[in-house]
């Protein structure tokens, strides 16, 4: 898959909404869509079967949507919060789903650390946090007055 190219050396251009950041936004967008669609189907057609799992699906979808928008618009602090929640979520839900499969009768995006999605849900928040850190460092070095959030379309 495509995430292998994410660790290439830094470019000269300031990248939040362009360059490698775009790739991250693209992958996040796909997951926002996938998790959102899955949650919508689960909640609307069989909510009573596994309310906890389906509400977690919905939570995952919201987190992905927030992360996607924040990354795309350059809202670094929001992105940091969303991606941190995402990392905690995938670790906690992944662990619980393995320890107590009965509590998760139906798959969520985060079940078994995202096994149903090639483990991308586990890798993605790590890449996201690395990207945000790199962005913060670069802005700190080029604008000593402080890294205010940049907005770019």
């Amino acid at each position: 898959m495509a995430e292998a190219t994410g660790d290439r050396p830094a470019e000269e251009r300031p990248a939040a909404a362009g360059g490698p950041g775009r790739v991250l936004v693209a992958v996040y967008g796909v997951f926002a869509l996938a998790a959102g669609a899955r949650a919508a189907v689960q909640l609307s057609t069989r909510f009573t079967e596994a309310p906890v799992a389906y509400l977690l699906s919905a939570l995952a979808a919201v987190v992905y949507v927030v992360a996607t928008v924040a990354l795309a618009l350059g809202g670094r602090r929001t992105a940091l919060v969303a991606i941190t929640v995402e990392l905690v979520g995938v670790l906690v839900v992944g662990t619980l789903s393995l320890l107590d499969p009965a509590a998760f009768p139906d798959e969520t995006v985060w079940s078994a650390y995202g096994r149903g999605y090639l483990f991308i849900p586990l890798v993605l928040p790590v890449l996201g946090l690395l990207f945000l850190r790199r962005l913060a460092r670069r802005q700190a070095s080029s604008w000593p007055s402080g890294g205010a959030d940049t907005t770019a379309g």
Binding site: A2, E11, R22, V41
Partner: protein, 121 residues
């Protein structure tokens, strides 16, 4: 939903993803090859969608019809969205954006096939 079409979509998507990654590695923006590949992929997906809808209308129903329809609608949008987005990206990363879209199509088409085979009867 014919296996031939699924394989054709997978091969096209894989080639498009490789072409996209290659252009990123070469430090180039995407070219006509990428847009042509995305167009071919889109045509194959539209043929598949029409075929699936015809089969649905004739009474074949996968067990999880809402999810199947969701995938069917979503997968058709991906090459278009990927190509438009990649075209608006002026750096070498445009190819990788397109590769993400193509890779997603490659995965989704197999999920679609799985959903189809789980027929509700």
């Amino acid at each position: 939903m014919t296996p031939v079409l699924v394989v054709a979509v997978t091969v096209t998507a894989a080639l498009l993803a490789l072409a996209g990654i290659a252009s990123t590695l070469a430090g180039r923006r995407i070219g006509l090859l990428h847009l042509g590949g995305a167009a071919l992929l889109e045509v194959l997906l539209l043929v598949q969608a029409v075929l699936a809808v015809v089969l649905l209308v004739r009474g074949d129903r996968p067990a999880d019809t809402p999810t199947f329809l969701g995938y069917l609608a979503g997968i058709v949008l991906l090459p278009v969205a990927g190509a438009l987005w990649a075209r608006s990206e002026p750096t070498r990363w445009a190819g990788t954006v397109l590769a993400v879209a193509a890779g997603t199509v490659g995965v989704m088409v197999w999920r679609l096939q799985q959903l189809w085979e789980a027929t509700g009867g």
